[in-house]
Subunit: 203 residues, 2 copies
């Protein structure tokens, strides 16, 4: 299993480099459980969903505490057949939990969101979940959408994606649960995620 | 068939609103062939791949002519089973061309990139193509990667995505061809795309 993300932070301010550097400081507690490599477009983070989503959340929450409008984009993937196995990415929730029926997985996902830490930073997220390589992929997608609507962070449905809104702790836990609990354990599952904070056109 | 994108423009400057408004002017020639709706996170564009990719390209190329570092993100989708049919999205390339063998489709894609207009704006793109709802999705992905490597715009492979580099005309034509020529005609195909220009850390 190979799990990771390509992550980019976009502060809409001429001082964007300082905001990015400040955000990167928030990655420090997670670096020993992730492999992190940066180029001019994005930062690769490889590791299990536990440190991976914590790191993305903390990076964005730190940047969102600055006054500037800031967004983050992440391409998140598990089980891509073209990637090698990596011990850093072992995840018991996937290997044990995914054999449960859809309704039980949705209940576990909802319980995890209720226990998410409160970070005190309000954010918006828009994301799409893709379950690849199986004929009946929409069953898992619709099951996931039901979970999202009851998660407490659901804001609205849009074409091609779902909007969440709330504290960064609950919102990123919702996305992690969507990634972990839907789609087969060994399947290829990806997320296209955008987070936004401090938008002048916040609706 | 329903085809469209959620598109966001991120200028890394305190004058970001002006850059976005200038970019939106470049959409004018395409508005009669697209349905366009904006909220605080992204702009929905619905229509056939011809005006859709032209509009995304022109929006980004206009913004990239400003001096500021700017990025664009687009979540692009065709054939999502949850979306209604829309006459705006009719596309002969999909309905006729997709019955050809993979090698012939790749050759048509390569020919289209050679005929792309030159916009005089150098850009970077990073994107992932997802072919959903079929067991052998990786055959189409690997066929697409072969096309990308020979496209003239290929820059490098990364985990989870492919980097392109070159003139905005050729780069966006490469992405359109990836979207059009790979995956079944009636299939659910999506792209997670990031474009970048004027980066201070351009590698």
């Amino acid at each position: 299993m190979f799990i990771g993300a390509q992550v980019s932070l976009y502060p809409m301010t001429s001082g964007f480099v300082d905001v990015i550097l400040s955000g990167l400081e928030a990655l420090a507690p997670h670096r020993d459980r992730l492999r992190i490599e940066t180029d001019d477009v994005s930062t690769l983070m490889v590791g299990a969903p536990e440190p991976l989503f914590d790191a993305i959340r903390d990076l964005f929450a730190r940047a969102a505490k600055e006054p500037a409008h800031v967004t983050l984009h992440a391409t998140i993937s598990r089980g891509c057949p073209g990637e090698p196995d990596d011990d850093l990415c072992r995840c018991e929730t996937l290997t044990v939990g995914q054999s449960l029926p859809l309704a039980e997985r949705a209940a576990l996902a909802a319980a995890a969101v209720k226990q998410a830490p409160v970070l005190g930073v309000g954010i918006d997220v828009q994301f799409s979940l893709y379950v690849l390589g199986q004929d009946r992929h929409m069953d898992e997608i619709y099951g996931c959408i039901d979970f999202l609507k009851a998660s407490g962070t659901f804001f609205k449905s849009k074409n091609f994606c779902t909007r969440l809104r709330g504290d960064a702790g609950a919102v990123f836990e919702t996305v992690r649960q969507a990634f972990l609990r839907f789609g087969p354990a060994e399947g290829h599952v990806t997320i296209d995620l955008t987070a936004s904070a401090n938008s002048p056109s916040h609706g």
